[in-house]
Symmetry: C2
């Protein structure tokens, strides 16, 4: 991709995330192009179908979550890293909740995409969790996949409110601490 094409592509994804977050899954392609300051023709050249754009947005969200996992493990103390990762997961899940019907459609069309996304997120969770487990600050009978099973369905549930998500992540973080009994 040429540099200006790449710039438009990135601007469209950033704009799409903002517009979907503000207007919901029914946001128009025109509104996204406008927000990205590109023509609708340019949008459709990069993303021939709406679902292609949703897929790219979701892929970018997963990329960011994985990068967050790597960053918090490098920068924070191991217990705080788990907390920061789960907070980032809540943020990631907000978009997923908005676009759930479209993302499920993308998953149905590309089962590999579903599987890869899931694996990448499970591995990110494992990275953060096992780092904390080695430091002895989190119980060691739980895997990254377990943690995602605990938080994932809750976070993509349509009835979750933002406050509630934060309260429940705090319960989970406390529950992950070792030597309770």
């Amino acid at each position: 991709m040429r540099a200006d094409a790449k710039r438009n592509y990135d601007a469209l994804i950033t704009a799409a995330r903002d517009v979907f977050a503000a207007e919901g899954a029914d946001a128009s392609m025109e509104a996204i192009a406008r927000k990205a300051s590109v023509g609708v023709g340019t949008l459709y050249r990069h993303f021939p179908k709406r679902i292609d754009l949703v897929e790219a947005v979701y892929r970018t969200d997963v990329d960011e979550l994985v990068e967050t996992a790597e960053r918090v493990v490098a920068d924070l103390d191991p217990g705080e890293a788990v907390d920061a990762f789960l907070t980032a997961f809540l943020r990631y899940a907000r978009t997923k909740r908005t676009l759930l019907t479209d993302i499920r459609e993308a998953f149905d069309k590309h089962p590999d995409f579903r599987l890869q996304s899931r694996e990448r997120i499970d591995e990110a969770a494992d990275l953060v969790l096992s780092h904390a487990q080695r430091a002895g600050v989190m119980r060691d009978d739980i895997s990254g996949a377990d943690l995602m099973q605990l938080i994932g369905p809750m976070c993509t549930n349509a009835t979750l409110t933002e406050d509630q998500g934060e309260r429940l992540v705090a319960v989970i973080v406390d529950g992950l601490r070792p030597n309770r009994r």
Copy 2:
């Protein structure tokens, strides 16, 4: 309902739960009638459509969960009561997971049924949780509805395994304890 009709009705629901659990949501009406030792005609007299039977099974599961909440609050120490209720919830969720597509169909047809079931379960969770909160053995910044948001979507997620469910309920129970920090 006459006594023998009531006996058949109850036998059909018990049989349906067992057969759905063993054979999945696609189990035949004939297999359920056979298991209940009644004729298929009797089954269809009580439950003209398959969805009527699914709805009755689900309603019975909710009844039992509510009764369990009342019983554990009366019989167990407050912390153990939460543990026992969540274990009963895991059992309840197993049927719901098996019949999820059918139950969603019943919910779509009868939004009141969805709402009432949800409210009854939230109230049951509240009963058990507030009992433990008054005894000072559970944190008090979480409501019954929060607890159900934490455990419900996880438990009805298709990928949850039985072992994993038990492990994750243990994390949740630990996370609910007060004075962690």
